[in-house]
Amino acid sequence: MRFAVPVFPGSNCDQDCAKAVREVLERPADLVWYTEDSLDNYDAIILPGGFSYGDYLRTGALARFSPVMEAVAEAAEKGKLVLGICNGFQVLLEAGLLPGAMRVNDHLQFRCSIQTLQVENNSLPFTACYKQGEIIRLPIAHGEGNYYCDDQTLQELEDRGQIAFRYHGENPNGSVAGIAGIVNRRGNVLGLMPHPERAIHDWMGSRDGARLFRSMLQYWEGMYGAA
């Protein structure tokens, strides 16, 4: 299973994402520059955190129009796994690959802390290695993680099991229904604000993020065999 990590001008978590794949899964991960227009050689894509295009206009709004995003949309269409972390989540929203939009945190502060989350649906390709309802700890670091969608969309997300993670206890940004991460209808595109790639070793304060990557590998091997 080969991973691509697209790098936009202003991305800053790309190396961490690639290292997480290499260290947790022992699988190859390539950094791919945003001008690349094909991701055919890859089985999964991780859109990293950071400040693509300096967050100009709106977070993720400009990255969405870079050539690599057409390839990401194509990969998602083919059913490949696409994971967007933090700014990557914001890009997926702007690209319309996930429903809703991101707003500034309700308290207006940039929040950098380890957050408690609840696994809301463990039957997804990204969450199968967690227990249903499990409480996990992942770090967050964002100023705009205040997820918004209208009531009808929220109802659909709830009904279809598209909410992957919710903040447990304190909601650090004011997001609708405490949402921390959602998937698309098909379940192959996940966007989340917390950083699983920053929680893969005990010395990082938590290694609960490792199982998100393991779930992806397990899903892929279940589909295509161990290659």
Binding site: L57, R58, G100, A101, R103, D106, H107, L108, Y148
Partner: protein, 97 residues
């Protein structure tokens, strides 16, 4: 006004300036507006009932006529300048400038 780059000027084309305002929809809570409202209150402006913060963009474009300019700016707003999920936009179009 910033100096405009001199580009090719086609016969019969006119320069229009669009002043676009983008702000959060009424139904979407505006945390920045609420914070500024709080500050205005503490300054003694207790009459302030609501503050909404938005952004202004100025776009110069060269089109055949007013209608085309208007249609093009509207499309730009829908596709990029505003996020229709959370934002509303409006714009004013003037000739020349």
């Amino acid at each position: 006004m910033p100096t405009m780059k001199s580009g090719p000027v086609w016969e019969g084309k006119t320069v229009y300036k669009a002043t676009i305002t983008v702000r959060l929809k009424e139904s979407v809570l505006d945390p920045q507006g609420s914070a500024v409202q709080g500050s205005l209150h503490s300054l003694g402006y207790e009459e302030v009932r609501q503050v909404r913060i938005g952004k202004t963009m100025e776009v110069w474009l060269e089109t055949a006529d007013f209608q085309e300019a208007s249609d093009r700016v509207d499309a730009m707003c829908r596709k990029l300048l505003a996020n229709p999920v959370i934002e509303d936009y409006e714009f004013r179009l003037e000739k020349g400038a």
